[in-house]
C-alpha cells in the first residue's frame, strides 16, 4: 500500500519545504475527514503552524509521518468538536466543494468517474467520525494499523476492527459494491505522491 507524503524530515527547519512536501496530502486528508474545504483549509493551517512550533518534539521512534498525521487529524477533530458546539458550520453550501464541479469527459475519464469520486467522498462523509478517520488514514494516507493506532491513540487491534466495520458499511453501498476490481487491473496501481 503506497504511502502519501506528509511531513518532511524532522531536521528540516524550512517551513516552505514542509508545505511543499506535505500540504496537498494534508489538505486532502482533512477534506475527506471534514467534508468542507474551508474547515479543511483552516485545520491544515492550524496543524502546520502547530507542527512547526513543536517541530522539536517528534517523539523518538515514532516517525515524522504519523506525527504529522496526528497533528492534522487532531486539528480536524478539533474542528468537528467546534462544529458540535454550534460555532462553526461544516456542511458545505451550494457551490462549495473542493471537488471539480463538472468533470469534463475526456478520452480516459468520463462523467461517470467524476460522479463516482463524488459518491466516494459522500460515502466517507456518511461514516461515523471514528470510522472515517481510520479509513482515510489507511486507504488514502497509506498508514499501517500500528501507525494509525499511534495517530488516534488506539491499539492496532482496535484500528483493525474499525477498518473492518467501515468496510462492511461501505460494502452495503450499492454503487461502491458494484465497483469491480477488473477496472483496477486495467488502470494499474498508484505509487506514492
Amino acid at each position: 500500500m503506497g504511502k502519501r507524503g506528509l511531513g518532511p524530515q524532522p531536521e528540516s527547519d524550512d517551513l516552505e519545504r514542509w508545505l511543499e512536501q506535505g500540504y496537498n496530502a494534508a489538505f486532502r486528508t482533512a477534506y475527506l475527514i471534514l467534508h468542507n474545504p474551508h474547515d479543511a483549509e483552516e485545520a491544515v493551517q492550524e496543524a502546520f503552524l502547530r507542527a512547526w512550533r513543536f517541530r522539536a518534539s517528534v517523539p523518538p521512534g515514532e516517525g515524522v509521518r504519523p506525527w504529522m498525521y496526528r497533528v492534522v487529524v487532531n486539528a480536524c477533530l478539533s474542528k468537528l468538536r467546534s462544529e458540535r458546539t454550534g460555532r462553526e458550520r461544516r456542511v458545505p453550501v451550494d457551490g462549495e466543494s473542493a471537488l471539480p464541479p463538472s468533470p469534463a469527459p475526456g478520452p480516459e475519464e468520463g462523467a461517470e468517474s467524476g460522479e463516482l469520486r463524488r459518491h466516494v467522498v459522500a460515502a466517507l462523509a456518511g461514516l461515523p467520525e471514528h470510522l472515517r478517520v481510520v479509513v482515510v488514514l489507511r486507504y488514502y494516507a497509506g498508514l499501517s494499523e500500528r501507525e494509525i493506532g499511534t495517530v488516534i491513540h488506539r491499539r492496532p487491534g482496535t484500528v483493525k476492527s474499525r477498518i473492518h466495520e467501515a468496510k462492511l458499511r461501505l460494502g452495503t453501498d450499492p454503487v461502491l459494491a458494484e465497483y469491480r476490481p477488473v477496472i483496477l487491473v486495467a488502470a494499474g496501481g498508484r505509487g506514492p505522491e
Binding site: H38, T85, R89, L116, I152, A177, P181
Partner: protein
C-alpha cells in the same frame, strides 16, 4: 464487504480529484511570520453564516431545558445534586509528571485515567501549581518563540540555563534537542518573567509572544460537561429502578453514550487546562561561528 484494493483505489482517486486551494501554503508562511492565529486569516474568506440558529444551538437549548428538568427531578427524588459537583480537586502536589515530549493539541482521553482527567477538568484555582495563572480574569493561552544567538561552544551551557530558568519559575522542559531547540512550559503568571530571563542568556534574534483569550470556549466546555454529568446521574437513578432486561440494557446503553461524551469533553478540558495553566515558550539557540 468491500475489497481492500478496491477501496484503496476508490479513496485515492476521490482524494486526488480534490482541488487544493491556491495560495494556502503562502498564507501559512505569512501567518508564521506574523505569528498570528491562522483562523484570523481565513475568516474573511468564509461564506457568511446564516442568521438562523443551527441545529447545534437548538440542541444546546434542549440541553438547557434538560438541565432544568433534571434539577427538578433531582429535587423530587432528593438526590442532593451530587452529580453536579464532580470529584474533589486534586492536591497541588499530585500534578502529573511533566511530559518528556510535546504533542501539539494531543488527542484527548486515551491512555489517561478518567478520574485523573476529571480531577484536572474540574480543577479549582487552589489546585493550580505555584505561580499558575488560574487567578487571571480570563482564560488566556500564552505562547512565545525566541531565537537566541550565543557564544561559540556555549550551546550546552545555555540549554542548561534554560532548564534552570524553567524549573526556577515552577515550570519544566517539555522538549529539548541537541540542535538547540528547547520547549519550556512555565506557569502563565511567570511567562513574561521567563521570557525576560531567557533573553539575557544571549543575543535575541527574534522574539514573538502571543496571548489568546479562550474564556468563551472554556466556559462553554465546562457548561456542556455539567449538563452531561447531570444527565448521566439521572440515567443512573433510572438504572437502579429498571424492572426488565430491556429497560436495563436500554438505560445502560444511554449511560455508555453519555460516558463517551463526558470522557471526550474531559480530554478537551484537560488540553485547555494544560495550555492555560502552562504557557509554552519555544527557544531556538544558535551558536556563533568560531572566530
Amino acid at each position: 464487504m468491500i475489497d481492500d484494493a478496491v477501496l484503496e483505489r476508490l479513496v485515492r482517486e476521490a482524494a486526488d480529484s480534490i482541488e487544493v486551494p491556491a495560495g494556502a501554503a503562502e498564507q501559512i508562511v505569512a501567518a508564521r511570520n506574523a505569528d498570528a492565529p491562522p483562523a484570523r486569516l481565513r475568516r474573511a474568506h468564509r461564506p457568511p453564516q446564516s442568521a438562523k440558529p443551527g441545529p447545534v444551538l437548538t440542541l444546546a437549548g434542549a440541553l438547557a431545558a434538560l438541565v432544568g428538568l433534571i434539577v427538578g427531578v433531582a429535587a423530587v427524588f432528593g438526590s442532593g445534586g451530587g452529580g453536579l459537583q464532580g470529584p474533589s480537586a486534586p492536591n497541588a502536589a499530585s500534578r502529573p509528571s511533566p511530559p518528556t515530549t510535546v504533542y501539539p493539541d494531543a488527542a484527548p482521553t486515551a491512555g489517561v485515567a478518567g478520574s485523573e482527567i476529571q480531577s484536572r477538568a474540574e480543577a479549582v484555582p487552589g489546585a493550580a501549581p505555584p505561580g499558575a495563572s488560574r487567578t487571571l480574569p480570563a482564560e488566556v493561552i500564552k505562547t512565545g518563540s525566541v531565537d537566541l544567538l550565543v557564544a561559540h561552544d556555549a550551546l550546552q551551557l545555555v540549554v542548561t540555563g534554560l532548564a534552570r530558568i524553567a524549573t526556577g519559575d515552577g515550570g519544566f522542559v517539555a522538549a529539548s534537542t541537541a540542535r538547540g531547540d528547547v520547549t519550556l512550559r512555565v506557569p502563565a503568571a511567570r511567562f513574561e518573567t521567563t521570557v525576560d530571563q531567557v533573553l539575557k542568556l544571549g543575543t535575541p534574534i527574534s522574539v514573538t509572544t502571543s496571548a489568546r483569550d479562550a474564556s468563551s470556549q472554556y466556559v462553554d466546555l465546562k457548561a456542556r460537561m455539567q449538563v452531561l454529568l447531570v444527565a448521566r446521574a439521572l440515567y443512573e437513578q433510572i438504572l437502579r429502578r429498571a424492572q426488565t432486561t430491556d429497560d436495563l440494557l436500554g438505560v445502560k446503553s444511554q449511560i455508555a453514550v453519555l460516558q463517551g461524551q463526558i470522557e471526550q469533553l474531559q480530554g478537551q478540558l484537560q488540553v485547555w487546562d494544560d495550555q492555560i495553566i502552562y504557557s509554552t515558550l519555544s527557544v531556538h539557540v544558535t551558536e556563533r561561528a568560531a572566530s
